[in-house]
């Protein structure tokens, strides 16, 4: 089971995080979901710093990042990932409530791999998150160095 890489979920809203977890669980994914509560924690996790300084080789297979987060927002996290030589290969899915054009444009400009608006309708939400999980967790192939280390 350790061959299943983790999926990073950066979401400040605990309820959203739970619903997302729920939706992902509905898709029967084997991947472990690492939930961080803000951008700062996400960066700690990704750059193995702070409380995550031990987990040296822990790199997720994909990162689902909310835009609006305390301390460091999603855009900053995205920028940090995409400007890092090693991390820039990590697929980043922006998972947000914002339908704003400018958010979308900015995200793609910084190198986001997908931009998904969370549907208000829960059924659609579950469906959407399940699709994301299946696609990024199972279908999409990541470079070997991301998986094997």
């Amino acid at each position: 089971m350790s061959s299943f890489k983790k999926i990073l979920l950066a979401e400040d809203n605990a309820k959203d995080a739970e619903l997302t977890r729920y939706a992902l669980s509905e898709s029967n994914l084997m991947n472990e979901i690492v939930h961080v509560k803000d951008g700062a924690e996400a960066l700690d996790y990704l750059f193995h710093q702070g409380i995550y300084s031990d987990s040296k080789d822990d790199i997720p297979i994909a990162a689902f990042i909310d835009l609006k987060m305390p301390k460091v927002d999603g855009i900053e996290v995205l920028r940090a990932i995409k400007t890092n030589d090693k991390l820039k290969f990590l697929p980043v899915v922006i998972l947000t409530s914002s339908k704003e054009e400018r958010d979308m444009v900015e995200s793609y400009r910084l190198g986001a791999n997908a931009y998904v608006v969370k549907p208000v309708d829960f059924e659609k939400f579950v469906f959407t998150v399940k699709q994301l999980g299946i696609f990024w967790g199972l279908i999409n192939e990541a470079p070997a160095f991301l998986i094997n280390k």
Partner: protein
């Protein structure tokens, strides 16, 4: 010979000589002729004497014979001759006496003849007397006979002598006559010959003279002709007069100008034909011919003279008059004049133009002085050529003060003069306008002036002058200052508004973002809860779950619509060519699942390509179509028509019509309002933002949207986009 003949004096001498000769000859001939006649008369005189002598003798013989007859016969008839003889004898002898009165010897003889004759007659008479007395006897007879015979013989002898004398005289006289006759003939013929010769000479001479005169006349006529042709060929009119001012000649031009014929004009006073008046006063000036005749000097005509033609036309003329002088006498004048109507007209035109120019100048000055801008014109030496009234007022100067002055002389401060002059010089150099702002702080109140210098080109595109208009822009400047202050304030305000707007946007963004999450959470957890406990729930509770779920869905939709609507105001239009057919097809495709169980007829005509923002246009049509679908949901046979009409004004109107529930036109004003609904949520669900969004998008495109409806009969929504292709 010719030279002598031509010489008048010689000719006269010759004529005198010739006439003297002829007179001499004639005199001589007449004298000769008289002599000859006289001579002839003497010859005839002699003949008469001889004849009378014979007659005397014959009378005496007749008397003798008659007496004898009587004596012999006593017949008285024989005495007739005797009586005749007695009556004739005296007469005869007297005649002889008269004829020979010049000859004394003959006179003596005549006396003798007379006495002898009487004697004889006496004897006869004695015999007759005796015979009648019968005393005549033989002896007496004899005596008487013998005595008679002696006397008769004496008479015969005397007559013979007298005859001899007269014959001798005749011979002399006849000889003389003959000589005279010869002389006469000779002198006559000689005179005749001389006369003839003279005549011939005269005729020859006359002939020659006639020829020469003819030739001279021809030459003269030729030169007269040449003169006439010359004068006629002169473009100017020529009239010549004699010393009294009577017209002797006028050329064709003069005839044409005056309208007088030469024939009519000849001999008239020149002023009758060359009738001139002053152009302005119409008074006759002194006639130039008279003046010339008076003082013998050439004169020109005063200006502005009109010639009045025969028919009364007026022609501007220009003339001169010169005397014709022969020796020291003025023998006439030559008047030369020409039609200067054209010249005069051009002079008048020139005068008119000059007047027009001054008028224009004045006009221009007045116009330029009507503006409050000061206007100055400077030449290349930067001296003033013109200044208008405002310019004079600006510097408190007169027009004359500006004449050929410079800015320094007008009293502009030196540093300003330098700047203005350099600007003016630049305009002269480049031919381009230039502007210069001038601030006058010399007074309490600061004044602002704007100098605008423009080139004035001559017809060779050289800058001849620079015209500078100086405008007092103090008021404008103050307003500008005020405006700029206001602008700063306005910008500040705008900044505030922008900030407020941004805050508003941020607020909407936050609200939508923050509201979505709770709604999603409610829906999400209710759903999970529902799944976990649904089977154990009573029906009523199940219904509550559904109501909550439905409410969250509506709430989510409301938020989404609201966000779309608010976003319209902020995002710019991205206009491109859009195929409406494709958009409509895509929308209908999206509704396919929803319409699975509906019986709906689409009537869609071919739509044009429009110039619009595609996503927004899709929102418009999506709203209109979804409304049409929604409000026909109760219809058995729903029909939705989508199409367009080309209006007369070139506008293309699109429409979406349905035969659904429609609406009451009395609520039309609420139709496109935000959150306005004409139906209850129970009848037709909806947020009341759709048509407001449609209106906002169409208006953002610069178009318009409107609708027609009738309750339970359907609705039609129209819109047009101003730009489409």
């Amino acid at each position: 010979m010719k030279s002598i003949l031509l010489n008048g004096k010689n000719l006269n001498i010759i004529f005198i000589i010739v006439i003297a000769v002829i007179i001499a000859i004639s005199g001589f001939t007449v004298f000769n002729f008289t002599q000859m006649n006289e001579s002839n008369m003497w010859v005839q005189h002699t003949d008469s004497v001889l004849f009378s002598l014979e007659t005397t003798l014959s009378i005496l013989k007749d008397a003798e014979t008659g007496s004898r007859g009587y004596l012999l016969t006593s017949e008285k008839d024989f005495l007739d001759p005797y009586y005749v003889a007695i009556s004739k004898l005296d007469e005869n002898v007297l005649a002889i006496k008269k004829l020979t009165a010049d000859n004394p010897s003959q006179q003596k003889k005549v006396d003798t003849l007379q006495s002898l004759s009487f004697k004889r007659i006496y004897l006869i008479n004695e015999a007759i007397k005796l015979f009648d007395q019968k005393k005549f006897d033989h002896a007496t007879a004899l005596d008487l006979l013998v005595r008679g015979k002696i006397i008769m013989d004496q008479i015969r002898s005397l007559i013979d002598r007298m005859k001899g004398d007269e014959s001798a005289l005749w011979g002399i006289r006849d000889g003389r006559y003959k000589v005279l006759q010869e002389t006469f003939i000779i002198t006559f013929v000689a005179g005749l010959f001389i006369s003839l010769l003279t005549l011939i000479l005269i005729i020859l001479n006359l002939n020659r003279q006639i020829k020469e005169r003819k030739k001279a006349e021809e030459t003269a006529s030729e030169s007269r002709n040449l003169l006439s042709v010359t004068l006629s060929s002169i473009g100017d009119a020529v009239i010549s007069t004699d010393e009294k001012g009577l017209i002797r000649f006028m050329n064709k031009v003069a005839e044409n100008l005056t309208e007088w014929n030469l024939d009519e004009a000849l001999g008239r006073y020149v002023e009758d034909v060359f009738h001139i008046v002053n152009e302005i006063t119409h008074l006759r000036p002194e006639n130039p011919v008279k003046k010339v005749l008076a003082n013998g000097k050439i004169i020109g005509l005063a200006n502005h003279t009109l010639l009045i033609t025969k028919s009364g036309k007026e022609i501007s003329v220009d003339d001169s008059c010169a005397p014709m002088i022969s020796g020291e006498n003025i023998i006439g004048t030559v008047l030369i004049f020409r039609d200067i109507t054209f010249k005069r007209n051009s002079e008048i035109e020139k005068e008119r133009l000059s007047e027009e120019i001054s008028r224009q100048k004045l006009f221009l000055d007045q116009i330029l002085s009507a503006t409050s801008d000061a206007i100055f014109v400077q030449d290349r030496e930067l001296k003033f050529y013109y200044a208008n009234k405002s310019g004079e007022v600006l510097f408190n100067k007169n027009k004359e003060d500006f004449s050929r002055q410079t800015w320094t002389e007008i009293g502009l401060p030196n540093e300003k003069v330098e700047s203005i002059n350099s600007i003016t010089e630049k305009v002269f150099e480049t031919g381009l306008p230039s502007t210069f702002n001038y601030t006058d702080e010399s007074n309490m109140e600061t004044k602002y002036f704007e100098f605008v210098s423009n080139p004035v080109f001559d017809n060779k595109s050289n800058v001849e002058f620079v015209v500078s208009s100086v405008r007092d822009i103090t008021t404008r400047k103050l307003i500008e200052l005020k405006i700029s202050t206001l602008n700063v304030e306005l910008e500040n305000k705008l900044g505030e508004i922008k900030q407020i707007n941004e805050e508003m946007e941020s607020f909407i963004y936050t609200v939508s973002h923050d509201l979505r999450a709770p709604i999603r959470h409610i829906g999400g957890f209710v759903d999970i809860l529902n799944k976990n406990i649904y089977d154990s729930l009573e029906d009523n509770n199940k219904r509550f779950f559904n109501i909550i779920k439905q409410a969250t869905i509506e709430m989510g939709k409301l938020i989404d619509d609201l966000l779309t609507f608010s976003r319209l105001g902020r995002s710019p239009l991205n206009l491109i060519n859009v195929d409406l057919n494709e958009i409509v097809a895509a929308i209908i495709e999206e509704f396919k699942i929803e319409l699975f169980e509906r019986k709906l007829k689409w009537e869609i005509s071919n739509l044009p390509i429009v110039y619009a923002d595609p996503p927004l246009l899709k929102v418009v049509l999506s709203n209109l179509i979804s409304n049409a679908i929604k409000y026909t949901s109760g219809k058995e046979e729903a029909v939705i028509t989508i199409g367009h009409e080309n209006k007369d004004n070139g506008m293309t109107v699109f429409y979406v019509k349905d035969n659904g529930v429609g609406f009451d036109m009395k609520y039309y004003n609420k139709l496109f309002g935000v959150f306005q609904r004409l139906h209850s949520q129970e009848e037709f669900e909806g947020t009341g933002i759709g048509l407001a969004t449609v209106k906002k998008i169409i208006q953002k495109h610069g178009g318009n949207v409107w609708a027609e409806g009738k309750l339970n009969e359907g609705a039609a929504f129209y819109f047009y986009l101003p730009i489409y292709s």
